[in-house]
Symmetry: C2
Subunit: 116 residues, 2 copies
DNA sequence: TCTCTGAATAGATGTTTGTCTATACAGTGA
DNA sequence: TCACTGTATAGACAAACATCTATTCAGAGA
């Protein structure tokens, strides 16, 4: 049987290799800031599955360059992508990236443990 | 209909609140380091679902206090728990925490978007 | 009680990160 | 071409972080 690709193997299946751990930790790092998590959620839950930056800045207490910085971090982590359409820039979520992280966290086959 | 609890609502269902975002970002931050991700994977995939610290330190290039520090971060994030049994301390994964993060990343109902 | 081993804590240090202000870049429309 | 608006980049700075060495704590066994 072929080993499952790193993209879809749960953490609990086999120890993560050094390289995979580095890549995946980078993606989780992008999710490790409250502003970024809310940005991602705003984009994902926006009608049509995408949102203009002008829709995103509103709910936050931080400046526009800070929002722009966080969007770049999410984009460089491969979680979202964007496109300019005239004056505005639209962002959308890349579902396969979320799914990759989600399947990593799967607890299928995880043996329950705890105090003896 | 009652609103789904924050623990199980996908990011794409509705915008994440400020407080939930803070909590969840903290959990993702615990996953945002390659050593911690490998530690978690090592614990989860260890036979019996738990591992002694002495089983964990081996594969890493960092010192014992650093491993201890990372285990503490994972524990304080609610991802693992531990117990001393005689000389040794055993760690195990808390599956509900992983499941909470996993369901947050679910793409069910996410509208595909992209370049026009 | 003494010593040995496994694990955690304390404190120091260089690096990374989140945020800001100031500025530049990209389109639109007059 | 000029002015205006939306977005990104540059650079600075304080706070958070990963790692180390040195030390302490907790149990086991003689």
């Amino acid at each position: 049987m072929l080993p499952a690709p790193a993209c879809c193997t749960p953490l609990s299946r086999e120890p993560l290799g050094e390289d995979d751990a580095k890549t995946l930790a980078g993606m989780f790092k992008a999710l490790s800031d409250p502003v970024r998590l809310r940005l991602l959620s705003l984009i994902a839950s926006h009608e049509g599955g995408e949102a203009c930056v002008c829709d995103l800045a509103g709910p936050f207490d931080v400046t526009q360059p800070t929002i722009s910085h966080h969007l770049r971090v999410l984009r460089e982590a491969g979680l979202i992508d964007c496109e300019r359409r005239g004056t505005w820039v639209y962002y959308w979520v890349l579902p396969t990236a979320l799914e990759r992280l989600g399947s990593l966290l799967s607890t299928d086959g995880l043996v329950a443990a705890g105090p003896r």
